[in-house]
């Protein structure tokens, strides 16, 4: 705190907030601290965002800094690239991850390579925020988890908080980062828990996983809303006498494999949990890296608990798609029984 030159005594209030309120708090802090920060997107102004992530920001910071854009995701990403190149710090919202796809060209072909193709003359310090994931009975195209798509794109950071504290700290660091960040918010847990957050402007590192629970028997690796089921599974396993370590990847790309490898070298067993489709995902990457770099420590094959290689079902069948606590416990038991 003392090291943060921007925070004043007046600002250092403690807030009891949900994840979505922590996003709001971080946006507010960033807008106060840095006059170059602008918030933009569909319905982020007068309406305060469809999930209320930007609630009250228009009233506090005005039309020039909290901007309702026309309904056009490619435009939102594209103007963010332009704004960022001129020194602004755009924090753009895509209303749902299912609608992020028309912004992909801007992110892949421009945001992620502006620095590289100009050899550092221009850069793109923008954040593209989007709520993602299923489990809230939303209509078609409102429940996607396509984080792997962005993790596959060079030059983009992909960050996913799983708690109010991490949402606050990671979003502030994302906004201050000199490069583009895709910041995905697990909307199923937007209002699941409250945490005390001191609004001190402290960011969290964008290059480390967070170990949420220490354990010696096996490693559970997850991110986003699945952290909730994963912690429940760890508790259930503990009742069965199994001591699971839980790692929240949080910074999907670039990926901090060191933390995961250290854990797997200790436990020899690993289950990776993702809500996204099973194939070609972040879990596949983590599993492959463990195979490459820690094979001789493994006492059983790495298991993956995932969604299906299907479009997210309409809400009636959504629960069939979603990985459950029981699935994680079962996979964990499978790793224990293999060797």
């Amino acid at each position: 705190m003392a090291s943060n030159r921007r925070a004043t005594c007046k600002d250092l209030q403690t807030h009891d907030v949900t994840l979505v309120e922590a996003v709001n708090l971080a946006l507010r802090r960033a807008l106060i601290d840095d006059p170059d920060v602008v918030v933009l997107g569909e319905d982020v102004g007068t309406n305060g965002g469809v999930f209320r992530a930007t609630l009250g920001l228009r009233e506090a910071f005005g039309y020039k800094r909290v901007i309702d854009t026309p309904l056009a995701e490619a435009l939102i990403a594209g103007i963010s690239v332009g704004m960022a190149s001129q020194g602004l710090r755009p924090v753009a919202e895509i209303q749902f991850m299912g609608f992020i796809n028309s912004a992909v060209e801007q992110m892949l072909c421009h945001a992620g390579r502006l620095r590289n193709r100009t050899r550092g003359r221009l850069s793109c310090p923008m954040v593209l925020r989007a709520p993602f994931g299923g489990g809230i009975h939303a209509p078609e195209h409102h429940s996607e988890s396509t984080e792997a798509m962005f993790a596959h794109m060079p030059g983009l950071r992909v960050v996913i908080p799983s708690s109010p504290t991490r949402a606050y700290g990671l979003l502030l660091s994302s906004i201050r980062d000199p490069d583009p960040v895709v910041f995905l918010e697990p909307k199923r847990i937007y209002r699941l828990v409250r945490q005390q957050i001191e609004d001190d402007g402290q960011g969290l590192p964008l290059d480390t996983c967070f170990t949420l629970r220490q354990g010696k028997d096996l490693t559970l690796v997850a991110w986003g809303a699945m952290i909730h089921e994963t912690l429940l599974a760890a508790r259930e396993l503990a009742q069965q006498g199994v001591d699971a370590e839980v790692i929240d990847v949080a910074t999907i790309s670039p990926l901090d494999m060191a933390t995961i490898l250290r854990s797997v070298e200790k436990t020899g067993r690993c289950v990776v949990i993702q809500e996204a489709a099973r194939s070609f995902g972040v879990g596949s990457e983590i599993s492959a890296r463990i195979g490459e770099e820690a094979l001789l420590y493994l006492r059983s094959p790495v298991q993956r608990v995932t969604g299906y290689d299907t479009p997210m079902p309409y809400p009636s069948n959504e629960s069939l798609y979603m990985p459950s606590t029981a699935d994680i416990v079962e996979a964990a038991r499978a790793t224990l029984e293999t060797a």
């Binding site: 569909e42 319905d43 102004g45 007068t46 309406n47 305060g48 469809v50 309702d68 026309p70 309904l71 056009a72 490619a74 435009l75 299912g98 609608f99 796809n101 028309s102 009975h137 939303a138 209509p139 078609e140 195209h141 409102h142 099973r278 194939s279 299906y308 290689d309 299907t310 479009p311 079902p313 309409y314 809400p315 009636s316 069948n317 959504e318 069939l320 798609y321 459950s324 029981a326 699935d327 079962e330």
Partner: protein
């Protein structure tokens, strides 16, 4: 604040907000036609109301009402021929039901069941609702290109909202309609609000219809709350399209009397006074007034209609609520023409999971 719902020069209209006839009704529009239009709009309004009630009572998921915009969908549906194709967005219930989509299917889609998209009959080749904004317009252009390449005298109707016109997709599709002279009629439901963003903050143009100028197609603005105007404009444009004379952009000026969806709260961003004023232009009321004043609609007919509609909607709701669930592996079975080896493995895994969970539940109940 909002785009004028009044008759302004250049905007096509036949029956005004007070139920007065502004100009001679077009050919094909007689009392029987007007009665049928009125009846359909009442049906749709009742379905809409019921859908919102189902959502509010936890029996359906998020639903986008079409309250106040019934004339647009009804006019389009009555103007289309059976072999035309409809490419809807998500507020086209009125057109879809006219094309044979059942009320139960409308409820199923928003109740989260893909079987609601199993359209039959006239609608069998229509597209399902497009939830991503504006993306359906290029599908429509593609359908129109297929019609043109096959040399058939058919046309496609593609709908979107005012918000969609901000997207490149819509411009790109209309541009193609212009350059390839495609048999496509695009109808923009200008209900004045893209969720919380008013039309005035979406585009710098005076109207949405004038965007047709930029792509070299016909464009016109119609009173979207006048079912006759919508019908006449769409029918004329479709006839032109079928004759190989190219496409048309129709801006139907209306007003979204409801929230954007049941997940929205429009009181956060628009004045009650504005909404109240917009009710004066209600498309259903004006037609009722016209029919009543001209002696073609009696209170007894109204009573009978309401009773019929109530029965029809109640039956649809009952069918919707009593429909047995889909097979659990339905969400895997239709991804490809045939289930691939990875999907077959995932289906097996799903069935094992379900058996496991059922056994666990059974075990719990034994333990109690």
């Amino acid at each position: 604040m909002f785009d004028s719902l009044d008759q302004v020069p250049g905007k096509l209209g036949f029956i005004d907000a007070q139920g007065n006839t502004r100009q001679p009704l077009p050919a094909g529009v007689d009392v029987a036609w007007l009665q049928a239009s009125y009846q359909h709009m009442v049906r749709i309004r009742q379905l809409d109301k019921k859908a919102v009630a189902l959502q509010r009572t936890g029996q359906m998921h998020t639903y986008p009402p079409c309250l106040g915009q019934e004339a647009i969908g009804t006019g389009i549906g009555l103007a289309m021929q059976d072999d035309d194709i409809l490419v809807p967005y998500y507020r086209d219930q009125a057109t879809q039901v006219l094309r044979g989509v059942t009320m139960q299917q409308v409820l199923q889609v928003w109740g989260g069941d893909e079987r609601g998209n199993l359209f039959t009959g006239v609608a069998a080749r229509d597209f399902p609702n497009s939830v991503p904004i504006g993306t359906q317009m290029s599908h429509a252009a593609g359908i129109a290109a297929a019609m043109k390449s096959r040399g058939v005298r058919q046309a496609v109707v593609a709908n979107c909202g005012d918000g969609a016109t901000s997207r490149g997709d819509v411009y790109e599709a209309l541009n193609l309609v212009g350059v390839w002279q495609l048999p496509m009629v695009a109808v923009v439901n200008n209900n004045q609000w893209a969720i919380s963003v008013p039309r005035s903050l979406q585009t710098g143009t005076r109207t949405l219809a004038e965007k047709a100028l930029a792509v070299g197609i016909e464009g016109l603005q119609v009173d979207g709350n006048d079912v006759v105007a919508v019908f006449h404009a769409v029918r004329t444009a479709l006839a032109r399209a079928r004759r190989g004379k190219g496409g048309t952009l129709i801006e139907a000026v209306s007003y979204r009397l409801s929230d954007h969806t049941t997940a929205d709260d429009a009181t956060r961003y628009r004045d009650a006074a504005e909404v109240s004023r917009a009710w004066d232009y209600d498309p259903v009321k004006r037609l009722q007034t016209w029919l009543h004043a001209s002696g073609h609609w009696t209170p007894a007919q109204e009573q009978a209609l309401l009773a019929t509609v109530k029965k029809e909607v109640d039956e649809a709701v009952s069918a919707y609520l009593n429909e047995p669930p889909q097979a659990p592996d339905d969400f895997i079975a239709y991804v490809f023409a045939e289930m691939t080896p990875p999907l077959l493995a995932q289906r097996d895994r799903l069935l094992i999971r379900l058996a496991r969970d059922a056994a666990a539940q059974g075990g719990d109940s034994h333990g109690q």
